[in-house]
């Protein structure tokens, strides 16, 4: 190997003193092996410069093509609905909206036929309680106290629902707190 091979790259990079650079330059003109090495090192240097350009270009393209996962809008919509429900549930009772008076205000409990004894029939009582609960639930859904319109785009990914479709959230209130939530398109 030529003695000058250790100074070729520094000479190429103009990092040698002027007199030393002149000596190396004269040698490279005369030595075919060193000229070949210099050509190879210059080729590598050009390749590194091109490599740096490609690295930056790749980083930029990766940024442009990055997309949000499909579940993000769904979770965002669900979080929005949950936030609305939570805010309504935590509203102080002093500022709660005036409840709408239902048309069917009374639910008559069926009267059990009188028997000779005063012992209550447990089966009948359970049935009556269940009947009352059913009546109350039917009333709550039929006459919601608050309706909130939510755009379909806020809950589903683009294209999942036709454009312009809204969902109506029916919130049923009882005793100042949220008893149920129902979404209807």
């Amino acid at each position: 190997m030529c003695d000058f091979s250790g100074r070729l790259i520094a000479w190429m990079d103009c990092e040698l003193e002027a007199n030393e650079a002149a000596v190396v330059e004269r040698h490279v003109r005369a030595c075919a092996e060193c000229r070949e090495r210099v050509a190879a090192y210059e080729d590598v240097s050009r390749g590194i410069a091109a490599y740096c350009d490609v690295v930056l270009e790749t980083a930029m393209v990766t940024k442009i093509h990055r997309k949000l996962p499909r579940w993000v809008p769904v979770v965002a919509g669900a979080a929005a609905v949950a936030a609305v429900v939570l805010v309504l549930a935590l509203l102080p009772r002093s500022v709660r909206p005036v409840p709408v008076i239902p048309q069917v205000a009374e639910v008559r409990t069926p009267i059990a036929p009188k028997t000779g004894t005063n012992t209550p029939n447990p089966v009948q009582r359970r049935h009556a309680a269940a009947h009352r609960k059913t009546q109350t639930a039917t009333w709550a859904v039929a006459e919601p106290a608050i309706q909130i319109a939510i755009p379909g785009d806020a809950m589903f990914p683009p294209g999942a629902v036709p454009e312009g479709v809204n969902f109506v959230a029916n919130l049923s209130l009882a005793d100042g707190s949220v008893q149920g939530l129902r979404l209807q398109p």
Binding site: I9, G47, A50, E57, T58
Partner: protein
């Protein structure tokens, strides 16, 4: 904020001069800095954040009336240190093999030449990934036109060490790429 007091305390002429200088430096060095940081493995967003922080620091540095010598290596050093802070393991985060893309090989005369150029690029990519981190950093900074002395200032190593590292790295790449 102290940045406002800097501006108010400075004479207007000097502030204007520094602003012009900072703008010129930004135009000249923004892309080389981004290229270097992307070469370290930072994402595009991370690299842009680091460059912005580096230029903000430079503005404060100039506004405070500190030394304006070697401002290029000063900027690279700030960016290099911030990159290390925001991504300690950037060497492990280098992505998969790179695609040279259409632009790099489109000037080739024939499809055969284009394929050869692409293969050569992949060999170089593999060889660069096999280098040690200081060798890769020295080569990237050298590719951005920094002198050995400036590279030493950025990386905090002696100039003679930079020369040895650059020589060793270039020789390794020349052997592995068989050029």
């Amino acid at each position: 904020m102290s940045g406002d007091s800097f501006s108010l305390d400075l004479p207007l002429a000097r502030f204007a001069t520094d602003s012009c200088e900072a703008t010129a430096l930004y135009r000249e060095l923004r892309k080389p800095l981004l290229r270097y940081l992307a070469g370290l493995g930072l994402s595009s967003e991370e690299a842009q954040d680091v460059v912005q922080d580096a230029f903000l620091s430079m503005h404060k540095h100039l506004a405070a009336g500190r030394s304006q010598e070697n401002i290029r290596s000063w900027l690279f050093r700030v960016a290099h240190n911030r990159a290390r802070n925001c991504q300690k393991s950037y060497a492990r985060r280098l992505g998969g093999p790179l695609d040279p893309g259409f632009d790099l090989i489109s000037h080739e005369a024939t499809p055969e030449h284009a394929v050869l150029a692409k293969e050569k690029f992949h060999r170089l990519d593999k060889a660069i990934r096999s280098l040690a981190a200081p060798e890769r950093e020295c080569l990237m900074l050298r590719a951005e036109g920094l002198r050995y002395r400036e590279i030493g200032e950025v990386l905090g190593i002696p100039t003679s060490t930079v020369g040895d590292t650059v020589e060793r790295a270039v020789k390794k790449l020349a052997e592995k790429c068989n050029v």
